[in-house]
Symmetry: C2
Subunit: 455 residues, 2 copies
């Protein structure tokens, strides 16, 4: 038969065992921490009705959605009725609207699933990637914000990150400043989309783009200058959130919204002092976030050696209402699994303590006639929780040892003719090269000792 193309589809990846083990380790840490904070798991289908997704992610988003052809006789029409999940927030909003009566009043959920975007693939940008979302639905209390920041900080600390920052801002504080410099409510979203590029394209380019859209004048210039300074400050200082009070009177439009935003940020700062989030939080009045659905706090997590963020989020009190007619407040965080993995790999943050190899021991096969004995030995070890590979063919022993060694399996057990006669098992430790014979009935204990010593 002719050989077919065997690569995965463009922008998609196969994960071989070592990749999966790393991914599952990170996901395991995320789940464990989120569960300790009382978050519950949710899963939604990979495929949604196309109307559920279209129009939720802006014009660019619509184009990046993978669309699925109608089946059967409709296939010829080219009509699409389904689409692949594009993020985990819109499905959450749909679920909350659909199961409102079954869900608790305060619904704290995490969701760790892949999403698909027909983006042009690039280094670190894939068409299938995992999002790790955590959201609190049903309360306006800033306890939601504080617990989210705390949980995310614990996740990153547990993974071994200690140099990240969680930049925080408030849409209403930023909105008050914009109003003060003459940007109307309707123009805010357009202004913020440009401002969001500040750390990517720099202040001059942002000023130019703003001017093109008609945002100019002394006040706009002054605001921009301030935001550049504040962003820089947020990235350098130790506890920039403590500087919060300094902006209370800066470009204050005097609106209740601005006051509320300022007050909420202050409360978050104060409550966060009880949590590990406190040392990572930085107030950054320039933080705009691209998405227009944020209504309150906004967050972004970064580390110095990764351009772009490890994750971000904020409060979106109007999104759920889109599906139910009824507004339900919500606040959430999304961590990017692929980016966390990129940094952890580059920094060498995975150790053999955290990522175990394929097996603790391999049982070699002495001869075709010894299959029963070798299998029985493997079963005896497995019954004690030991991860055992069994070599399936009676190859030369050297070849069998080579196989174990190339796969980083630390131990090999051999049941040769002599060992069988003496009711013994020969154990070889491939790490030290040492080998010894052990009475059959003690072999599990011996193996447990040897692999425990390794940890």
């Amino acid at each position: 038969m002719a050989s077919a193309k065997t690569q995965p589809a463009r922008g998609m990846r196969d994960f071989l065992p070592e990749d999966v083990r790393k991914r599952e380790f990170v996901i395991g840490v995320i789940k464990e921490v989120y569960q300790r904070y009382g978050f519950e798991p949710l899963e939604t289908p990979a495929v949604e009705n196309i109307e559920t997704l279209m129009g939720k992610y802006g014009e660019e988003g619509n184009q990046l959605i993978f669309k699925i052809l109608k089946r059967g006789v409709h296939e010829g029409t080219g009509e699409a009725d389904l689409a692949l999940r594009y993020d985990l927030t819109v499905p959450l909003a749909r679920v909350v609207a659909e199961y409102r009566e079954k869900l608790p009043k305060f619904f704290k959920r995490y969701q760790i699933q892949p999403v698909w975007r027909a983006d042009r693939p690039a280094r670190g940008r894939f068409r299938e990637f995992y999002q790790c979302d955590v959201d609190v639905v049903g309360t306006e209390s800033v306890i939601a914000e504080v617990e989210l920041c705390s949980a995310v900080s614990e996740v990153l600390e547990t993974l071994g990150f200690h140099d990240f920052t969680i930049r925080i801002n408030h849409r209403k504080v930023l909105g008050g400043m914009l109003k003060y410099v003459g940007v109307s409510q309707n123009e805010q979203s357009s202004f913020l989309t440009i401002l969001d590029k500040l750390d990517k394209i720099g202040a001059d380019a942002v000023e130019l783009e703003l001017a093109k859209k008609g945002f100019q004048g002394d006040l706009v210039g002054e605001l921009l200058q301030y935001l550049v300074f504040a962003q820089d400050n947020a990235q350098r200082s130790q506890h920039a959130i403590g500087e919060l009070h300094k902006i209370a009177n800066f470009m204050n439009d005097g609106s209740p919204d601005r006051a509320q935003g300022q007050w909420q940020l202050a409360q978050i700062e104060s409550l966060a002092s009880h949590t590990p989030a406190h040392k990572y939080l930085r107030f950054d009045p320039s933080l705009a976030r691209g998405l227009s659905y944020y209504t309150g706090t906004m967050f972004e997590i970064s580390v110095r050696d990764l351009s772009g963020s490890l994750g971000g989020g904020g409060r979106y009190d109007n999104l759920v209402g889109m599906f139910g007619g009824r507004e339900i407040p919500a606040c959430g965080f999304s961590l990017g699994l692929e980016r966390i993995l990129v940094v952890m790999n580059e920094r060498g943050m995975f150790s053999t303590d955290t990522i175990k190899g394929p097996a603790d021991i391999m049982v070699a096969l002495w001869s075709e006639n010894d299959r029963g004995n070798s299998l029985a030995l493997a079963m005896q070890l497995r019954a004690r929780g030991i991860r055992v590979d069994l070599y399936p063919e009676p190859d030369k022993l050297g070849k069998q040892f080579g196989f174990a060694s190339s796969r980083q399996i630390p131990l090999v057990a051999v049941l040769g003719t002599e060992e069988l006669l003496r009711d013994e098992v020969k154990l070889k430790d491939l790490r030290s090269g040492e080998q010894r014979s052990v009475k059959s009935k003690f072999v599990s204990d011996e193996v447990l000792q040897l692999i425990k010593g390794d940890k």
Copy 2:
């Protein structure tokens, strides 16, 4: 805004927290057992190039594949270039062909991921469902078969199943019989597709369908009669695989293939005696399996209270070659997660011991001013590994207790004015109704005691 449709797409399901916890429990058991047998995890993309899938699953399969529209300007043409994963075997074959050099010579992998089929949804039949596959690639040794049956038996036993059977047959034994009664090599697949329906539509209907295709005569009748008897026997008897020798001379075409099949079954029976699979294995010469790619052993697992199987598999020594030109022997098993869950739910096999609720304890919020203290208490408990929910609003205490109780959270901690003055925490056990005050520094120990006592 107008309210939108909030159900999941047709044939797809949302999994609320309790569902996810059950699914993850079962998946966790499967992974743990497979890892103990030295199987390694593999993950492939949900989306494959359409050529990778088309033509691999027969005419019916082609129609059930979800196809994805080309993006951008191509969208209008209705052309599809991608498709959703339809099973986990074809992606495995592609991966083995693509990464042959990086993978171990004997590649033992498990893969637990969703697949999508545009089937008409029905009770227990979904358009998105999980498969749990486990395969050994690279050896013809029957050790592969024995370890697969053993691992699958341990998975089911660990989940609490003790009444299943693993029916086993061999394509070459069945092929020898067919040849003996006059079915040519080319006609075998057509004959087997009909025979596969034996336990669904019965012997008379099978005979009629066979006759329509021209398969008739005394020998065909005799074979069918024998297979009905043998199937019945396999379902009743305790160790039907022990009856294997009895068929050695039954309708034997004298071919080396038939002899090899018979010999391999006998070896599997003998080796399986070292494993838990032994008591579940039943030789069923009528087992045909629908898929035409099996070349040797075939398996099917069933329990009495589920029509259809919990899983199945077999040896397919030619499939991997489809992608690489080079044939590589392989043998595998696929468990159906949804069917396992259906039976476990119907039989009440999930207990509160295995499926934990959303949190071990809820910290109530006495007043707006106590947010800091309550948060600090929650953090203190979480630091000890306790899963803690924190009520975010200062509602009446009765309402807060009701919230915890409705979510099956067993404990509530209250930090009221009095407790604060005495440096105490009030703990209420909602299961017994008991409550007591505990000194702050002992509260974590006390909570750990209370939730351990529960387990």
